[in-house]
Amino acid sequence: MLDNFAFGQYYPGTSVFHRMDPRMKIILLILYIAGIFCAGTLPSFAVPLLFMVFSIHMAAVPLKMVFKSLKPLRFILIFTFVLNLFFLQGERVLLDLGFARITREGLVNAVLYALRLVFLVMGSSLLTLTTAPVPLTDGLERLLSPLKAIRFPAHEMAMMMTIALRFIPTLLEETDKIMKAQSARGADFESGNLIQRAKAMVPLLVPLFVSSFRRAGELAMAMEARCYHGGEGRTRLHVLKMARRDYIALALGIVMVALTVALSRLTAGLI
């Protein structure tokens, strides 16, 4: 029932992208997001687009998997697009409906924002598709660890994320099982108006909460039984190491941002 949930799913593989240091992948994602937001004109979007295409190619992940992550986003996408389309009013009117006008500036802006959202989600899902949850949070912890100096709980944050990510599939499975069990008792989750549907969620949510609390308690106990005492003095099984491919990726990322900025400046007057 819930097997079309793609965001945050790991797609196992052995590509360069899979083998890259997770820290570098996170830095690349940040650079890439910077690139998307630096691209102020449509033509300058070509650079992040090429970067994305190249990355997907290198990651050897099926395009279908990457696009699947966009599905939950469709309403937000339409909403942003329409909002930007009507609310940014420029000089050159394309269409006058009387109560509202569509201007060329509004259209360009709407397209830009929609593109940014799409690229943002595709980029982030490429990261989660090619990085297993544990290395991912490991990388995040290491990147954030300088902030420990100002008492930022980097380790705790990373541990919380690891646990949360780890339990997404478990919870989905559990949800699926309880949904089926209640359907076997004649529950209907698929029809009725909004209020009826919200009510139908009660038999699903109560057992889910109960089991989540129980699971949390058990996990805490199991961690303590194995002497977990927080991040202080903890050593790692896999020590992260940057390799040549990581530095090449970093260089490519910086070039990408620079190119985007340059192209954005050059084409700024064209629209």
Binding site: A184, G186, P203
Partner: protein
Amino acid sequence: MELKLDHVTHTYQPGSPFQATAIRDISLTVGDGDFTALIGPTGSGKSTLAQHLNGLLKPTGGTVTLDGEDIHQKGYDRRRVRQRVGLVFQYPETQLFEETVKKDISFGPRNLGLSEEEIAERVRTAMEQVGLDYESEGEKSPFELSGGKMRRCAIAGVIAMRPTILALDEPTAGLDPEAREELMEMVADLHRKGTAIVMVTHNMDDAAKYCSRTVVLEKGRVVMDGAPKEVFTRAEELTQMGLDVPQVLRLGMLLREKGIPFPEDAICEEEAEKALLELFKGKSRPARLPGQEGGRGHA
């Protein structure tokens, strides 16, 4: 009333890298009065098969028919199947959600759109059938009950739908011996009163004692299907699959090794008792028993 699975195959997430075929080409009929045990090693597709019985899973190949009608055809009201074929999941107590035991059990009947009197009547009967006290336990929160009672409460929630076929997925998993015995007696009682039972189990003694038919699954296929006696006497094959055989059968094998003529087709306790009594009466006592091992007979 006849529920028929015809060449049913089910593949999870077809076309993805996680594609997995859980059951292949399974044909099975459940009719009135049957008590069928589904056994097989972990991952043999027992639970997947159980979820096909009431249309929760749609086969990727083959058909499921109830009295000759395909339950997955367009326009067929699947709720009708859910009412007639009850399914109790593994650890069903995880699906309890209401404030009181009564309310939780009435969830199913209420979904059937019955009148309040009819619902109350069904809740009372269902509670009696599973051995919960309507007066003293009906108003309790289901989360206050003991583990064994929580499970019986959850099963009552399915029984209250008054299904003609009841499928149970490992109903005794995680229960202590006493609670297990009680639960099995309750299931046997439902069977005596006319409900056809399909039970997934790892407990071969229960299968041997209560069932009229045993179906063995391995790697998603039916490898044996017949009366418990026929299936369990193929002890070697079962052991190779990583399955147990009933304790009585094992006892018999040990006794025969010692030269004591314990009947080969005794598989449950009652039969063992009878056979042992006969042996002790000396009716078929072997001529020469190894003297030093004379006292080992009833180990």
